[in-house]
């Protein structure tokens, strides 16, 4: 089965290891992965800030980049928020493009694809508790909240929902840059919940959006509280290649080391 990877700009530029992990787990599950090379960014940063014309231009470019070939192959996104941009916002920006409806229907989040295409069963052993953070757009715009947790369970992790899980972590795209003070106060509230989860045994903070995760990992790093932070794809890739352990999660997920591998 052919699968097109919607890498997303943050992962492409700052967390390429997650995209490589995604390619590996997709291929292990029988997918023939292609990466439309012209893809850049979905344009959400411009749309959210009120630059509609600019966002529309980026949306048109997305359609160009993905409509080139294999019009029916699933497009698997590595960010719930970027997938939501295409599925929920693009209709008002590029809804008039005849090529768009097929793209719209092809896009799904990685967790949905993984649930439909389960891979090799996780090597038994004990389930490793991890704290799971569901991104707001994943939860509220795509309506996915159990799916990523089901994927983690199948990978041998025990996802734990944070207290006040309904609360945004404060990332909010460029909100994190234009309003660093409020954004950071929100990150601290979220990280307090994460630390509670750590005390109860959570070995890592896992999410399916590097936006939220970079924001929280960046705060942990700045305040000297390094803790493993990983994307769902990273965790599944680890589980595919051996039993999940707290040590392997730490090795793979510590901020600042990721780029060095």
């Amino acid at each position: 089965m052919r699968v097109r990877l919607f890498v997303t700009c943050l992962i492409d530029i700052f967390q390429p290891e997650t995209a490589k992990a995604a390619v590996r787990i997709l291929e292990r599950r029988g997918a023939q992965v292609s990466v439309p090379e012209a893809q850049t960014c979905c344009g959400q940063f411009a749309y959210n800030a009120g630059y509609r014309d600019e966002a529309t231009a980026l949306a048109r470019h997305f359609v160009e980049a993905f409509a080139k070939d294999e019009a029916d192959a699933p497009i698997v996104a590595l960010s719930g928020s970027c997938a939501a941009m295409v599925k929920e916002i693009y209709p008002e920006l590029v809804g008039d493009d005849p090529r768009f409806p097929a793209l719209h229907d092809a896009v799904s989040d990685l967790s949905e694809w993984l649930l439909e295409n389960p891979g090799p069963a996780a090597a038994g052993g004990e389930q490793i508790p991890v704290a799971f953070h569901t991104g707001c757009h994943m939860r509220r715009l795509l309506g996915l909240s159990d799916e990523p947790k089901d994927v983690l369970r199948a990978a041998g992790a025990e996802p734990r929902t944070l207290r006040d899980a309904d609360q945004c972590c404060g990332f909010g795209g460029t909100y994190s840059m234009s309003e660093p003070e409020v954004s950071t106060a929100m990150a601290e509230a979220k990280l307090q919940r994460f630390q509670e989860a750590q005390l109860e045994g959570a070995a890592a903070l896992v999410g399916s959006d590097w936006g939220c995760l970079l924001h929280m990992a960046g705060r942990l790093s700045r305040t000297g509280r390094d803790a493993p932070v990983l994307h769902l794809a990273d965790v599944v890739d680890l589980a595919d290649t051996g039993p999940l352990t707290a040590g392997r999660l730490r090795e793979a997920g510590t901020f600042g080391r990721r780029g060095e591998r």
Partner: protein
């Protein structure tokens, strides 16, 4: 003059006690709503019907006139007022005619909006707020910080401080402790005397039924019923968007504020007032007036923002908003705070006056629209207001230049890659121990409080290209 957002933000984030209080109280209110729906399977059906009736009502421009005719037919008086000045003039005229000097009020956001208390005070009329939360902030000289619980920013010991100061001024015994029953008893005792001696009672209105001219007041404390039945005059100020068509609509509407605000099927008191007292009746006012307030509402009607007028002021969006939970209501610098306030404030006044609200107090997390019983799509409206701010040139030039250049470069793979190569060069200035700890423009906003990984030595795209070349090359 409205204080600038950075000042309001600084003050709010400095206040750790405020954040602790909000973190304790707001989740409880939000969970109450969720549980109430779980507990009552038909509530969702009623909510959707209520929403549809509200949507029809705000689109119907004839309802106010129908309501006015119905009120007059039952012996009440009705008028329309454009703004705070007209509303105050109407009340001052009544006060002069009757020689009245003392007003008691129940909680009303619209009177806050009209700055009615200040206007009446300037005319020598003494106004006493009687809702416990409003009483606290009136004594403290503050503004409400939450639509349901105006004094939510104060904890019990801070409330006690306010009452102790007030007791000294009144020459009465101060509350002996910060026990909640003691504090409440102090307010009850003080306010009872005000109720019994007041000349005019002023209320807002949760809804008003056009068909019968019936005013609906929903409260828990019982103060509104004091205000409407003890003085000889009752004046209700009702936003023109609060009118609903028929009595039948109330079946689905009456439970909405309490269900969604605090998770109760009905508040303690739901009072329906259809006129002044009848001949032979001793309770209730001799005069019953309803003022329909515009104050910017008609400029929202018929625009893409019209649905914000369906808001029933339940407070559900305040309770779930993650930004509100960090900064509290005063940070909005406006009468209506919280998510709905971030839309209502600029729409009722102007975007130039309050574009900071939709821009700076929302991460677009969509929690508000999920909680809203009227399904008001606030995130959508915030984006539309941000777009309007861009069109009206309200954004700093440097910000617009950044977004435009960024978007332009990323419209092509070539520009995208070039920007990455440039960033790799530039980031050497800011890289410490494998992390970016500073940067220009927006990146600098990030790195002020958080580290950022540097641009990867090889992006995924570059790596993939290398793989493809190896495979096919």
């Amino acid at each position: 003059m409205r204080e600038a957002w950075p000042i309001r933000r600084y003050r709010a984030l400095q206040d750790g006690e405020l954040r602790r209080t909000l973190a304790r109280v707001l989740p409880r209110m939000a969970e109450g709503r969720v549980r109430a729906y779980e507990d009552d399977p038909e509530a969702e059906v009623r909510r959707v019907r209520a929403r549809d009736r509200r949507r029809e009502a705000v689109r119907n421009p004839g309802l106010v006139e129908r309501a006015m005719a119905a009120i007059e037919a039952r012996g009440g008086r009705a008028a329309q007022v454009r703004d705070g000045e007209e509303a105050a003039a109407y009340l001052i005229e009544i006060a002069r005619r009757r020689g009245a000097t003392r007003v008691v009020k129940s909680k009303s956001m619209v009177t806050e909006e009209l700055e009615l208390n200040q206007r009446l005070a300037a005319a020598g009329i003494e106004v006493r707020e009687t809702d416990l939360g409003e009483y606290i902030i009136q004594l403290a000289g503050e503004r409400p910080s939450h639509i349901l619980a105006p004094a939510i920013h104060r904890n019990r010991s801070q409330v006690k401080d306010v009452f102790v100061d007030a007791a000294t001024g009144f020459g009465v015994e101060a509350p002996a402790s910060d026990d909640l029953d003691v504090l409440t008893a102090f307010a009850r005792r003080q306010l009872r005397a005000d109720f019994l001696s007041a000349d005019i009672g002023v209320t807002g209105g949760n809804f008003l039924v056009a068909e019968t001219g019936t005013l609906i007041l929903i409260t828990n404390e019982g103060n509104a019923d004091m205000v409407t039945t003890l003085p000889e005059v009752h004046v209700a100020l009702v936003g023109m968007e609060k009118v609903v068509e028929s009595f039948e609509d109330l079946t689905d509407l009456l439970p909405v504020p309490a269900m969604n605000g605090v998770g109760r099927r009905l508040s303690s008191y739901t009072t329906m007032i259809s006129g002044p007292r009848q001949p032979g009746q001793l309770e209730g006012p001799e005069e019953f007036h309803v003022l329909f307030v515009d104050n910017g509402r008609s400029q929202i009607r018929g625009t893409p923002f019209e649905e914000v007028l369906t808001c029933v002021r339940c407070g559900a969006c305040y309770n779930v908003c993650p930004v509100f939970r960090q900064v509290g209501g005063h940070a909005y610098g406006s009468v209506y705070g919280g998510p709905i306030g971030s839309a209502l404030t600029p729409l009722l006044s102007s975007l130039r006056y309050a574009h900071d609200l939709p821009e700076s107090l929302c991460t677009l997390c969509h929690a508000c629209v999920e909680a809203c019983p009227m399904d008001i799509d606030l995130p959508h409206h915030f984006v539309a207001l941000r777009e309007q701010a861009v069109r009206e040139g309200l954004k700093p030039k440097g910000v617009s230049l950044t977004y435009r250049t960024w978007s332009h470069w990323w419209e092509s793979p070539r520009g995208y890659r070039r920007s990455i190569r440039l960033a790799r060069l530039a980031q050497r200035l800011y890289e410490r121990r494998g992390r970016l700890q500073g940067g220009p423009g927006l990146l600098g906003g990030w790195t002020r409080t958080r580290d950022m990984p540097p641009v990867a030595r090889e992006t995924f795209g570059e790596w993939w290209e290398r793989q493809e070349e190896r495979r096919h090359g």
